[in-house]
């Protein structure tokens, strides 16, 4: 495998391998919290932060505990547990010591525990055999890409709200169609860089 520059992975994770548009991961909070730009930006920042931290934790757990013991198959369940524990811990710490940040991001944290984009990033970095730096760049890129997607959708949904959408498609229906169109548009980036 050719050694990819972490910067390339970072850019690819935002544009060509966007968590939402190419993997459709983390859809539940993506659809549910994309009604307003400000809240979706808050959620996106929280996702990015949690992604950066959990990918480091999970990288260390995987390569220093699971691999030496030949327990790679446990990664799904261990990653979930470590993500859930980390998010809880983070929520408590933010609430106590950084109340302003807590009021901006903290309330989204419980939503993130079950955001599959977080688990997805941890699993992708293992499957794609990333080094530590590459994993870190990938997780931040994935977070930025996820934020970009949800903020863009929120902007579009704020405008759709004023249009006469057929009754059966209002809300999540039109949001999913919009996401599909956005994903098609993002395919236009695919020539820039390619990661598997």
């Amino acid at each position: 495998m050719i050694e990819l520059n972490p910067m390339i992975i970072f850019v690819a994770a935002i544009f060509t391998n966007n968590m939402i548009f190419s993997n459709f991961l983390g859809m539940c909070s993506y659809i549910a919290v994309s009604k307003e730009i400000s809240t979706s930006l808050g959620l996106g920042e929280a996702v990015t932060f949690v992604l950066a931290c959990t990918s480091v934790i999970n990288y260390l757990i995987y390569y220093y505990i699971l691999v030496p013991l030949n327990l790679e198959f446990l990664r799904f369940i261990i990653f979930i547990v470590s993500i859930a524990a980390f998010v809880q811990l983070l929520e408590m710490i933010l609430e106590r010591y950084l109340p302003n940040l807590y009021y901006a991001l903290g309330i989204f944290l419980p939503l993130i525990t079950v955001n599959c984009a977080i688990l997805g990033v941890s699993l992708f970095m293992i499957i794609r055999n990333y080094t530590f730096l590459q994993s870190f760049a990938f997780s931040i890129g994935a977070g930025v890409g996820w934020t970009l997607a949800i903020v863009a959708l929120a902007g579009i949904r704020q405008r759709i709200k004023l249009d006469s959408v057929p009754a059966g498609l209002r809300g999540p229906g039109i949001a999913l169609i919009t996401t599909g169109l956005m994903a098609l548009a993002f395919m236009g980036f695919s020539g820039i860089v390619q990661i598997q």
């Binding site: 809240t39 013991l69 327990l71 446990l74 547990v81 811990l89 609430e95 109340p99 009021y103």
Partner: protein
């Protein structure tokens, strides 16, 4: 074999480490020490900080109405927080009107106790108690509506105003994995302090109504708290216009029972709306009240009658019947209980007849 053992041990160890970390964090980071809650500038409670205002108040036996049990989804547990509640959270905003925001209302289940706090709650809430009651009787009023009679525990009494409601806990049962509280108006008279009667309709897939209709039997224990609500009998001598559909008859029954027992000499008209004859209930009792009460008329009105029903009463929705019989709104007040479309249409008729909106009391469900 070996790998099964190792993986179990490793997974258990890792979970234990995370659990330990979280427990330590909960004891240190999440420890806000003792905080003081000042209620209505007079009552002071010293409690342990760190949990939500709602759960702390419930532990102190002050019951704030809440249907979802503190998950921030029902929006009933609003409390006025005068000081020390921190900024309002995005999770609360969907439930807050501009008036609520101006009055410093918060959802008490989302407001965490971190420092001394000053709150204001209606005096009536101090009167709210919890009861471990027992089902004494279940009567079928119609195919989908039951009248349940609960006996309060030995020595316990409930005092409420006619028209108020209690909350009934639906516990876990097969097919339901969450505990919820649902509000039901009291149908019995307030003079009856040892018993409560509730009228409960069956809603397909309703958590509490399925519990009541499919699982509850005579002799079963139930958990009730109350009374709550600002829909109740107003003491004056205006003529009363009452209207109800379905289980909305419950609070009206309580009002009528109260008036009958105290021999209150007020003119009262009760419009009972239903679709078909079989949806009406307790007709004999209302007829009897017409005889025994001072000046009471009972007017049932059916919206979906066919010729085979041989129905001689009013035809159409309740608002039509009210429009027909109510001459004007002079010196009258109204008590309405039913679903939102029914309340809205009746309010429209009543205001067009000249009853001011502040004299129209209603309980919408």
């Amino acid at each position: 074999m070996n790998s099964i053992l190792v993986s179990t041990v490793i997974f258990t160890m890792m979970s234990a480490i995370f659990a330990l970390l979280l427990t330590i964090a909960d004891r240190t980071v999440n420890n806000y020490g003792e905080v003081k809650i000042t209620i209505n500038d007079e009552k002071e409670l010293n409690v342990k900080g760190g949990s939500s205002l709602l759960s702390t108040l419930i532990e102190e036996k002050i019951f704030i109405p809440s249907a979802c049990g503190g998950k921030g989804t029902c929006g009933y547990c609003k409390v006025e927080v005068q000081d020390g509640g921190g900024p309002i959270l995005a999770t609360e905003l969907p439930f807050m009107s501009e008036e609520d925001l101006a009055n410093h209302k918060r959802l008490s289940c989302q407001c965490k106790l971190k420092q001394d706090i000053k709150i204001h709650i209606p005096e009536e809430l101090f009167n709210v108690r919890e009861y471990d009651a027992v089902v004494e009787n279940i009567t079928d009023l119609t195919e989908t509506i039951k009248l349940l009679r609960f006996r309060l525990p030995e020595g316990a009494e409930i005092s409420f105003k006619p028209g108020q409601y209690v909350q009934l806990k639906a516990p876990l049962y097969e097919g339901n994995d969450e505990e919820v509280y649902r509000a039901y108006s009291i149908a019995s008279s307030p003079s009856n302090k040892k018993f409560l009667e509730l009228v409960i309709g069956y809603v397909p897939q309703g958590i509490a109504t399925t519990y009541v209709h499919r699982h509850l039997e005579i002799g079963d224990p139930v958990y009730i708290n109350g009374p709550f609500g600002d829909f109740y009998y107003q003491d004056n001598d205006r003529e009363m216009v009452m209207a109800a559909t379905g289980t909305g008859v419950a609070p009206i029954l309580s009002l009528l029972n109260y008036m009958k027992e105290n021999d209150i000499k007020r003119k009262a008209r009760f419009y009972f709306g239903a679709k078909k004859p079989e949806d009406l209930f307790m007709l004999d009792y209302f007829k009897e009240l017409e005889e025994t009460m001072y000046d009471f008329k009972f007017i049932p009105s059916l919206s979906r009658v066919t010729e085979e029903d041989n129905w001689t009463g009013e035809v159409g929705r309740v608002d039509k019947a009210i429009n027909k019989f109510l001459e004007d709104g002079d010196n009258k007040e109204a008590y309405l209980c039913g679903n939102a479309p029914m309340i809205d249409s009746v309010v429209q008729v009543l205001t067009s007849k000249g009853i001011p909106e502040e004299l129209i009391y209603y309980d919408k469900f």
